[in-house]
Amino acid sequence: MYAAAKIELEKCIGCKLCILSCPEPNVLLYLPETKQVSVNQQRCKGCGLCVVICPKDALSVSSI
């Protein structure tokens, strides 16, 4: 079973704190068009650092 982060786009405000806290490269990407963050679940290790730092509780870690 693999765990990965999931984002609720309704809650994301695009502060980019999660991008600066993620140890994995190219997992959290910033979309300038919508000013929101997207997750590349194939590369995520599910450590949960982004979940802890997100001020809006937009991220969660679950099995994929």
Binding site: P23, P25, N26, L29, R43, K45, C47
Partner: protein, 279 residues
């Protein structure tokens, strides 16, 4: 470096891996990028085998994003946790025998200055606390005494994490580890204080909990090393596997250390301060 070197010819464009194509299209080579731009460009670090929530890999990611010119940078590393991520970066990387990294970097810097006299080729040592403070301490100090124009970056996880958790010189006093069951008996080696008196012209002590400060420190250290002399950056990168905390607590542990024994500290001479203010 011209980006022509990395751009594939049309005939071979289809054969290259997807990661390489992305790197050519959206890599950090054409325009300067910084830590603030993370997430908007393809990072030069590729997927790595570090544990989930690893502070070292976060440190590597931040410093790789902060390099002023990644195409003209040579990173010198040494065995340990730090080189798992570094060997898979899209920049020149040289691995050395354990502890020799600063001597090798000094030689490479001198050679590159002769070969490319009109280009700044940055030689950056990125190694763990074992490579710099224990086994390579003599060569590190001597490279500072000789005023070699290289940047030394220590990713300090306070343990030999790669080999199962032996105490390192940088472990805190009293720290109980897998292979130090009675706790460490002597205090942390003050490498940062030694850098001040050993000839480093610029030094910063910072933790991964302050990513923007890490980015600024690495960038300043490399730019100062081009002109003045050796520079030193010490980044606290806690290890969830050996320090036995949950992987999602890495930044919290780093934040607490920032208030305790790892406060942000910077030293620089007046001429370096004037130079940095002009940039």
């Amino acid at each position: 470096m011209s980006t022509k070197i990395i751009t594939p010819v049309d005939e071979f464009a289809d054969c290259l891996p997807q990661e390489y194509k992305e790197l050519v299209a959206r890599g950090p080579y054409r325009e300067p990028r910084s830590v603030e731009d993370l997430g908007t460009f393809k990072e030069i670090i590729e997927e790595h085998p570090h544990c989930a929530g690893c502070g070292v890999s976060l440190g590597i990611r931040l410093l790789a994003a902060a390099l002023p010119s990644p195409e003209d940078t040579l990173i010198v590393g040494t065995p340990g946790c730090s080189f798992f991520g570094l060997v898979q970066t899209a920049l020149n990387y040289s691995n050395t025998a354990f502890g020799n990294q600063n001597a090798v970097a000094a030689g490479l810097k001198r050679m590159l200055q002769i070969r490319f006299p009109h280009v700044h080729k940055d030689v950056v040592v990125v190694a763990g606390d074992g490579g710099i403070a224990d086994i390579g301490l003599d060569l590190t100090l001597h490279s500072w005494f000789r005023q070699e124009k290289i940047t030394t970056i220590m990713l300090d996880n306070e343990v030999y994490a790669n080999t199962g958790g032996q105490e390192s010189g940088m472990s805190r006093q009293g720290r109980v580890l897998n292979m130090a069951p009675q706790g460490k008996r002597f205090p942390k080696i003050p490498v940062f204080e030694m850098a001040k008196v050993s000839g480093c012209v610029y030094g910063v002590r910072v933790t991964v909990a302050s990513p923007r400060k890490v980015g600024r420190a690495v960038r300043n250290a490399i730019l100062v090393a081009r002109e003045f002399g050796p520079t030193y950056v010490q980044i606290f990168t806690p290890c969830p596997t050996n320090m036995k905390f949950s992987p999602n607590q890495t930044l919290k542990v780093a934040k607490e250390a920032e208030k305790d024994h790892y406060t942000y500290e910077e030293f620089l001479s007046t001429e370096v301060a004037t130079y940095l203010a002009q940039l």
